[in-house]
């Protein structure tokens, strides 16, 4: 950080060595063959107590106007951290300090009452979120307009569709005007159109200089909304810094986590497979880091074992972005025949992938053509058998003649159409 310019925005939230301990009481399982005395002791002490640290030694600072993403897998402690900051429960150790008003959207529609009308619920929910009556009065029309509830505002909420209720609830929550806004996975509400609207509203709030803490499993939202991120793993903070690197860590494909040799036989498979043929192991060759230059060939060896006879087996490789969206696919029509008990190694070379810079999960499927010209999966590893990264186009990539795509934006997509020609002609 030393070489960067000094950030002179004030620190608005400071979390220092915060930890949260839960005491978990587990019912003890009584061992068999106990004497009467031991049995009595077990009955008297039915539970055993275990300490569980949901969070430990968390320290970070948020400056005014920062949009901080908190990412991590389920159970990493993200929601616990938000609950501590929003004062729903208190930390076991450490100290949290902030300036101004904190508002938390941990759940859309908290405190909505089914019996009350939309209007009554707006006022109730607003009060629950800490708004005064005048504040709600001022924003009421905006709330109704945003939620698209219209004439149904005076209908009891129990007559609403679930979408209507969620829209109204989000509309109320998003009119809060706090100094720090805490958002926990609430943007995944309503239909597509409304979700876009919510996201636009969040972006508006974000660009208006508000400080936001946001938990989301949707990396697209994290990327679009946040300028900083911390990564939690089993209650510990393992990273604090740039969003892109945090997303990589979250996806488990940080440089240190990659491996060019991977056993595939024990990876989970879909239930419908009959398991007569199985991919056992993959070795990535001619590359020790899984980081590829633009259109550098991706080559690997795949060991396949057949338990029963299998005919006409081909390979399909699906490249998925870190969000899980398929970006591209490669077919390898091998039409290989396997005898029972036979093991073969398949050499694969993806010569020109046209993939945009980014991280990809490569899923592999063995397919068999059936009489109806449909490819059946006979073995499948989804979403990933291995990871690859396509590097940003550097100046050393002489294969590309134009400079237009040297710095790739994710907004442009995940593969590039290569064969494009055109010219400027005079208008007649």
């Amino acid at each position: 950080m030393a070489e960067k310019t000094v950030d002179n925005r004030p620190v608005i939230l400071k979390v220092e060595n915060v930890g949260k301990k839960y005491v978990i009481r587990n019912m003890r399982t009584m061992p068999q063959n106990l004497t009467k005395g031991q049995m009595l002791r077990y009955k008297l002490k039915k539970y055993e107590k275990n300490d569980f640290w949901a969070l430990k030694d968390i320290s970070f600072e948020v400056r005014k106007g920062d949009r901080l993403a908190i990412v991590g897998r389920n159970g990493a402690g993200k929601s616990t951290l938000l609950k501590l900051i929003s004062r729903i429960t208190e930390p076991t150790e450490g100290r949290i300090e902030y300036y101004g008003r904190v508002a938390a959207m941990l759940e859309v529609g908290t405190g909505f009452n089914q019996e009350l009308t939309g209007r009554e619920n707006v006022y109730l929910n607003g009060a629950i979120l800490g708004m005064s009556k005048e504040e709600i009065d001022k924003r009421f029309d905006g709330i109704v307009e945003f939620s698209e509830i219209g004439e149904f505002i005076d209908t009891p909420v129990k007559r609403y569709s679930s979408g209507m209720m969620v829209r109204l609830a989000f509309a109320v929550a998003s009119t809060m005007d706090p100094d720090i806004l805490i958002v926990d996975e609430v943007l995944s509400v309503g239909d597509m159109k409304f979700r876009d609207k919510c996201l636009r509203r969040m972006n508006e709030i974000a660009t208006s200089g508000k400080t936001i803490l946001c938990v989301s499993h949707v990396m697209g939202i994290v990327r679009g909304l946040c300028n900083r991120a911390i990564v939690l793993e089993r209650g510990k903070m393992i990273y604090n810094g740039e969003v892109e690197h945090a997303i990589k860590l979250y996806n488990g494909i940080a440089e240190e986590a990659r491996n060019t040799s991977r056993d595939l036989f024990d990876l989970p498979r879909p239930k419908y497979l009959n398991e007569k043929i199985r991919m056992m192991h993959v070795d990535i060759i001619e590359n020790s880091t899984c980081i590829y230059k633009w259109n550098e060939p991706i080559r690997f060896l795949l060991r396949v074992e057949a338990k029963a006879e299998a005919k006409d087996v081909s390979l399909r490789a699906v490249f998925r972005c870190d969000s899980g969206t398929p970006a591209s696919v490669a077919f390898l029509p091998l039409h290989a025949d396997f005898k029972a008990g036979e093991t073969k190694t398949i050499y694969v070379s993806v010569n020109q992938h046209n993939l945009a810079p980014g991280d990809y999960k490569v899923g592999l499927d063995l397919t068999q053509e059936n009489p109806y010209d449909i490819f059946n999966n006979v073995d499948s590893i989804t979403p990933e058998a291995f990871f690859i990264t396509v590097k940003n186009l550097g100046s050393q990539d002489h294969e590309i003649e134009d400079d237009s795509a040297r710095l790739w934006s994710n907004a442009w997509g995940n593969s590039r159409i290569m064969d494009v020609t055109g010219e400027v002609r005079d208008s007649e």
């Binding site: 501590l84 929003s86 405190g111």
Partner: protein, 296 residues
């Protein structure tokens, strides 16, 4: 970007907000200020309780008249007419009973509302911060409105018995609202004390309504305090006289019935209970509210 020096003082001005510090063990000095800030929420919750309770009912608010009146009629019939117990002084039996039902209802409702508040509003409290005491305060307001209606009915009953029995109430009736604060505060603070226990031992959830039902018969609600004292053996009478709710009920009856003597022992006992349970209850509640989310 210039390398401007980071200055703490201007920062705080710029954010223009107060500082909040969250530390373990509830070292939170803004608690009372927060309660004031969230006062509107208490009224909103009270409004919700009342609106929701009478939604889709035909009689609506009428129910808060019907239930105490029916209660009063049954009690007056059983204790006044069948058992033929004596009333307090010149008051008709129905007036005396009704004057007891109002404070008792306030006490028992406040106690049960407050003691179960962590369970009944768990869904809300797990998702939003507000000083937790706001929730029972709101429910208590709602109960107060019912009692205000009950009080109006009492005036009506007194008016009727003025014409039927020639009963004239005392000028002290103006003091009733003041003395009604006693059962409210008593029920509320005892409830506060019980509320954290209710999280750990849900048995209380079953026990409290049951104990309140017994309490209604032990306490002079359906009969006069004098009749009850006469029935209790001399040796343990002072124990009976220390019933704090009886103190509140006696005080309310003293306000209404002219020839009723003020009963000091029960009144003082009531005040002592209140003086003890307010700090003890608040302390227990605040201890409970800090971590109840982890336990519910």
């Amino acid at each position: 970007m210039g390398k401007k020096k980071y200055n703490q003082n201007t920062d705080i001005d710029e954010i223009n907000g107060r500082k909040t510090v969250i530390e373990p063990n509830g070292k939170n000095f803004q608690y009372w200020k927060d309660i004031w800030r969230y006062r509107e929420l208490a009224f909103n919750l009270a409004k919700r309780d009342i609106t929701v309770r009478y939604k889709q009912t035909v009689i609506g608010m009428g129910w808060s008249i019907i239930s105490p009146v029916i209660n009063m009629l049954i009690m007056s019939f059983i204790f006044g007419s069948v058992a033929n117990l004596e009333s307090d002084g010149s008051a008709p039996y129905s007036v005396m009973v009704y004057a007891g039902i109002i404070p008792w209802t306030l006490f028992s409702r406040n106690l049960s509302i407050t003691s179960t508040t962590f369970l009944s509003s768990a869904a809300l409290m797990k998702k939003v911060y507000f000083p937790r005491i706001i929730s029972p305060l709101g429910a208590s307001f709602a109960a107060l409105i019912d009692s205000a209606i009950s009080f109006a009915v009492l005036l009506l009953i007194i008016l009727i018995s003025f014409f039927l029995n020639g009963f004239t109430p005392c000028w002290r009736i103006l003091l009733v609202p003041v003395f009604l604060l006693m059962p409210i505060v008593l029920g509320f603070s005892v409830g506060l004390f019980l509320s954290p226990l209710n999280i750990r031992f849900r048995d209380l959830n079953q026990a409290i309504p049951f104990l309140l039902q017994i309490g209604q018969y032990v306490t002079p609600v359906a009969y006069s305090f004098a009749v009850a004292c006469a029935a209790v053996p001399q040796k343990i009478r002072f124990v009976y006289e220390l019933n704090p709710v009886a103190g509140a009920i006696n005080a309310v009856r003293w306000c209404i019935i002219p020839d009723n003597a003020f009963h000091w022992p029960s009144f003082i006992s009531s005040l002592v209970f209140i003086a003890v349970f307010i700090p003890v209850g608040i302390k227990a509640f605040r201890k409970g509210e800090r971590t109840f989310v982890d336990l519910v």
